[in-house]
């Protein structure tokens, strides 16, 4: 059928023209989309993807003091880490640390947020106070706690002494150091967590509570059946962010304990820092960083898998 009927020919031509036009629009849209993404692609590549790849690459090598690769060792760095008692200890400390601070941070912040959400005179002052730790740098907060923890003239031990108890070597006693660092971190985290939770509370429709009041619901019934479920997306966000932050804690360790005593507070990020910039073992440090990355990724994935089911998105 080489000849076409004159009637269908122009119709098919038109179809072809339409098809070409459609393809052209598609290409143009694609280019436009890429252009919009380009700034973030460049930024992410330079500051995120490239260093990440470089870290993975470095973790397979031994390096000299300047960080240049010397010998390819394969998985040797990783194997050494998992047989090193120091790294395993810092692994354990990190998990303990997360366990100490995450529930405490969220429960205290939620409590404060619920309090600060009440319609009372002067509640704005309390909101400012409760969220103020957000505006304090890690260094300043650490120094401030350093004084509180001071074994002889620190306020905490003075209170203990006043109560007739023996002072605690907050930062020097291996049994207490991690707790002390945890308390500092909880205190520092509360500002941010409080603010986010308060925001979440304030976005809950007041008429839900009014309706519950008319229905005869009590305070704790409302808290359990309305506030917490309505807040669950915010709680989930806060949980995820707090866990990730806990895994990445560095500043307060460096100032308060420097990993000591007896490596009790040598959390993974601090251990990475020491390995890289004190011992100049960039390969081993990179291996630790990769492990931390996978750890956080796994934790977050698990949370989304199991936690998200209990979250009520609007």
């Amino acid at each position: 059928m080489s000849t076409m009927s004159p009637a269908t020919k122009p119709y098919e031509d038109m179809q072809l023209a339409f098809e070409a036009e459609r393809r052209k629009t598609k290409t143009r849209n694609f280019i436009k989309g890429i252009l919009f993404l380009l700034p973030s692609i460049i930024l992410f590549s330079v500051f995120l993807f490239y260093p990440m790849m470089k870290t993975v690459y470095l973790s397979f090598f031994l390096t000299d003091a300047s960080g240049a690769t010397t010998v390819f060792v394969g998985l040797q760095n990783y194997i050494q880490l998992f047989t090193s008692s120091i790294f395993l200890k810092s692994f354990k400390s990190t998990f303990l640390f997360v366990l100490y601070i995450v529930p405490a941070t969220i429960i205290i912040s939620l409590f404060l947020a619920v309090l600060a959400n009440e319609k009372l005179k002067g509640v704005g002052i309390f909101r400012t106070i409760f969220s103020s730790t957000m505006g304090i740098s890690v260094a300043a907060a650490s120094v401030f706690w350093l004084y509180l923890f001071n074994p002889t003239m620190g306020l905490l031990n003075e209170i203990l002494g006043f109560l007739g108890m023996e002072g605690i070597g907050w930062l020097t006693d291996p049994a207490w150091a991690l707790v002390a660092v945890s308390i500092t971190t909880i205190w520092m985290n509360i500002g941010f967590t409080f603010l986010i939770l308060l925001g979440g509370l304030q976005s809950i429709d007041q008429s839900l509570y009014e309706s519950a009041n008319i229905d005869g619901a009590g305070y704790f019934y409302k808290l359990r059946r309305i506030t917490v479920p309505m807040l669950s997306p915010t709680l989930f966000f806060v949980l995820t962010v707090t866990i990730i932050n806990a895994f990445q804690t560095f500043g307060q360790i460096d100032i308060l304990t420097q990993g000591g005593p007896q490596n009790e507070t040598n959390l993974i990020v601090y251990s990475i820092y020491r390995e890289a910039f004190v011992n100049y073992q960039f390969g081993a440090a990179s291996a630790q960083a990769v492990i931390l990355f996978i750890l956080i990724l796994l934790m977050t994935a698990l949370q989304f898998k199991f936690g998200e089911k209990k979250v009520h998105y609007q």
């Binding site: 429709d205 839900l208 009014e210 009041n213 008319i214 229905d215 005869g216 059946r225 309505m230 609007q314």
Partner: protein
């Protein structure tokens, strides 16, 4: 069954100007009482004060002869439907309906029984497991109603419950709510800004404006004898046509907006005080069509809306727009001079200064068959 009694109820926020001024009102048992007014008139505030969601600044509120001024909402034995329904988004329809019963620790079996009874009544049986976001607007509205019904509270408060629905659904829900109220014998306080809802649903209506009662009465009273200019223009659709008028007693003429010259009867003249400056109002259906011969006036049509069963025509009268509503279809061109008949017996006369009614229209549009 309970009545609600308010004495000098006043509300102000932060000692500012009063939002509500000395409201005196009694709502009878089993009555469908509508609070109507434009937005900002204080009607919702009053309703929330009955519910106990707002403090009462001054005055006495009684429910069932018991002073409730300081009683928390849960002890007032009432239910409320909110404008946005206030459904709990994370709970299923069933949990939403049962929330109040569980809070009050009603027995499991009783809960079941009431749930089934209510959902049968509201036709929600198939949706019990759904979340509110999976329901249409009308269904959500029903869940909100079901929540009020299931509590078996004798007083039900509704705050503009139909304002989020489309016009058709609104009309059918109007009937449904009205039937429900009659069937359960509820004392209903219903807030709306829609005078159609007020007219069609209320046993009695209270018109509220700027925190003061304008008039309380049954719908027909409000329509036929509006107490003042505000009620006259608020109740009725299209609104009452209003114009300033001057009475010429010597010639027995009433001149409206310097244009319409209407024959004034003796009784009309005797009803109007000598020095009063007056405003007249006439309902859209009282401006009747006339043939060229028996027309009393000719008016210029500026807009014609042909709805099929009736036609709304707007006339311009010295900067005022007057509308008429005639049954049937009318072929009228914009700009045409239309012959109309205006009788002074159809005019409602108001005092311009105070807005108060001096004399109501003498004719009412009765239906063909006496009811």
């Amino acid at each position: 069954m309970k009545n609600i009694e308010m004495t000098d109820i006043t509300k102000s926020y932060d000692k500012q100007k009063n939002v509500l001024n000395e409201i005196n009102l009694t709502i009878g048992e089993g009555e469908f009482f509508v609070l109507v007014g434009p937005s900002g008139s204080g009607k919702s505030t009053l309703l929330r004060m009955i519910a106990g969601l707002e403090d009462i600044t001054d005055g006495i509120m009684k429910i069932d002869d018991r002073v409730v001024n300081h009683l928390p909402p849960k002890d007032r034995d009432l239910s409320m439907v909110f404008q946005n329904y206030a459904l709990y988004p994370h709970m299923s329809v069933e949990q939403n309906i049962l929330f109040g019963l569980q809070a009050k620790k009603v027995g499991k079996e009783e809960q079941r029984r009431r749930l089934i009874e209510t959902t049968d009544m509201m036709g929600l049986g198939d949706y019990l497991k759904r979340k509110p976001r999976e329901l249409s607007g009308g269904q959500r509205q029903r869940v909100a109603l079901a929540r009020a019904v299931v509590s078996q509270a004798p007083v039900c408060l509704m705050d503009e419950p139909l304002s989020n629905l489309d016009a058709k659904l609104r009309a059918s829900m109007r009937v449904e709510i009205r039937r429900l109220q009659k069937r359960l014998g509820l004392t209903m306080v219903y807030v709306t800004h829609d005078q159609v809802e007020a007219m069609t649903m209320g046993d009695r209506i209270m018109v509220l404006h700027d925190g003061s009662i304008q008039q309380v009465g049954n719908p027909i009273e409000l329509y036929n004898e509006p107490a003042n200019l505000f009620v006259a223009s608020f109740i009725g659709s299209p609104k009452m046509n209003i114009g300033k008028a001057v009475l010429n007693r010597a010639e027995g003429r009433l001149i409206v907006e310097d244009e319409l010259n209407i024959n004034a009867s003796e009784s009309l003249m005797s009803d109007i005080p000598n020095d009063a400056s007056i405003t007249v109002g006439i309902r859209a259906e009282h401006l009747t069509y006339a043939t060229k011969e028996d027309a009393t006036h000719f008016m210029e049509a500026v807009n014609v809306e042909n709805l099929g069963n009736e036609t709304t025509i707007a006339f311009e009268l010295n900067n005022e727009i007057w509308t008429v509503k005639w049954p049937g279809q009318w072929e009228i061109e914009v700009g045409e001079m239309v012959p109309v008949k205006i009788s002074c017996e159809d005019l409602a006369i108001f005092d311009t200064g105070s807005g108060r009614l001096i004399r109501a229209a003498k004719r009412v549009s009765k239906g063909a068959v006496p009811v």
